[in-house]
């Protein structure tokens, strides 16, 4: 058993694809039309074979879940980075809105931003002891 696929809900798949590839820097992996939606997934350019699917939040249950997390300031997913401060600077430069600026939290340093698709995303950096 392997963890190969994770997913997040997005309010608009094309908008999400643009943000996750052009701003965050992920690469599109699969893009398969399914009716008026798409099976859309991403991979990291830094390696690893885990994919992240961008799923439409068209189901009201998904939207309720997504909205509740967002309104409470809770990230829906987290990505590991080498340097949180550098990513904060890079993304801020591109207009990304952060709800948490880089801060230490025990063994990690983290920051949280809005992904423009209805989610908050945490980035974290493992601290070397």
């Amino acid at each position: 058993m392997r963890i190969k696929l994770s997913g997040i809900y997005v309010d608009d798949q094309q908008k999400a694809l643009d943000f996750y590839t052009e701003v965050l820097g992920f690469k599109k992996s699969q893009d398969i039309p399914v009716g008026e939606f798409r099976w859309l997934s991403l991979v990291s350019p830094e390696g690893g074979d885990t994919e992240l699917s961008l799923e439409p939040n068209a189901n009201p249950i998904a939207k309720t879940y997504q909205d509740a997390l967002f309104e409470q300031g809770i990230p829906i997913n987290a990505f590991e980075v080498d340097d949180v401060d550098a990513e904060f600077a890079r993304l801020s430069e591109q207009g990304v809105a952060f709800t948490t600026e880089p801060m230490k939290a025990g063994e990690v340093k983290l920051a949280v931003f809005a992904d423009t698709c209805g989610n908050l995303i945490q980035i974290y950096q493992r601290q070397v002891a």
Binding site: G7, D11, D12, K15, F19, Q30, I32, P33, V34, G35, E36, F37, R38, W39, S53, E55, P56, A58, N59, P60, A62, D67, F70, E71, G73, G95, V96, A97, F98, T99, E101, A114, T116, C117, G118
Partner: protein, 141 residues
């Protein structure tokens, strides 16, 4: 930096923009309701939600129209008014531009298939990888 209070106000604005019962509110009205200047409201809303308040509201209205077309029996004119458009012509033109077909054609094609309007992960995965999907056919070609 987006404070918790600012995030909360932007969420309140998003709720107002989605609410078909508040279709009469202008963008300036919504900005005022959350105590932000119109300029700052539009700028911050776009940074957080990836589109301007007006773009967001239009997309939400079209999504609402799609649901009403599929699940109900209201006329296209009634649906147009229900979701906040005042002109049937501009509604139909915009719907066709964004969805790819006219409201009546869309209703006819989905023919009450409400499930396809709200897919879930398993359904998308199953459909995408099914033997007769466009993707599978292209892989075999």
């Amino acid at each position: 930096m987006l404070t918790k209070d600012r995030l909360s106000r932007l969420c309140r604005a998003r709720d107002l923009l989605r609410d078909l019962d508040h279709a009469e509110l202008s963008i300036a009205d919504v900005a005022q309701a959350i105590a932000l200047s119109r300029f700052h409201f539009i700028r911050q809303f776009k940074a957080v939600f990836g589109e301007t308040p007006a773009q967001f509201r239009t997309r939400e209205r079209l999504e609402a129209a799609k649901r009403l077309l599929v699940e109900g029996n209201e006329t296209v004119t009634d649906i147009c008014m229900t979701v906040g458009f005042t002109s049937l012509g501009s509604f139909s033109a915009l719907f066709a531009e964004r969805v790819g077909q006219a409201p009546t054609a869309y209703r006819k094609e989905l023919d009450g298939d409400f499930a396809s309007l709200q897919p879930h992960c398993l359904m998308l995965l199953r459909e995408a990888w099914s033997a007769d999907s466009q993707f599978s056919r292209s892989q075999k070609a």
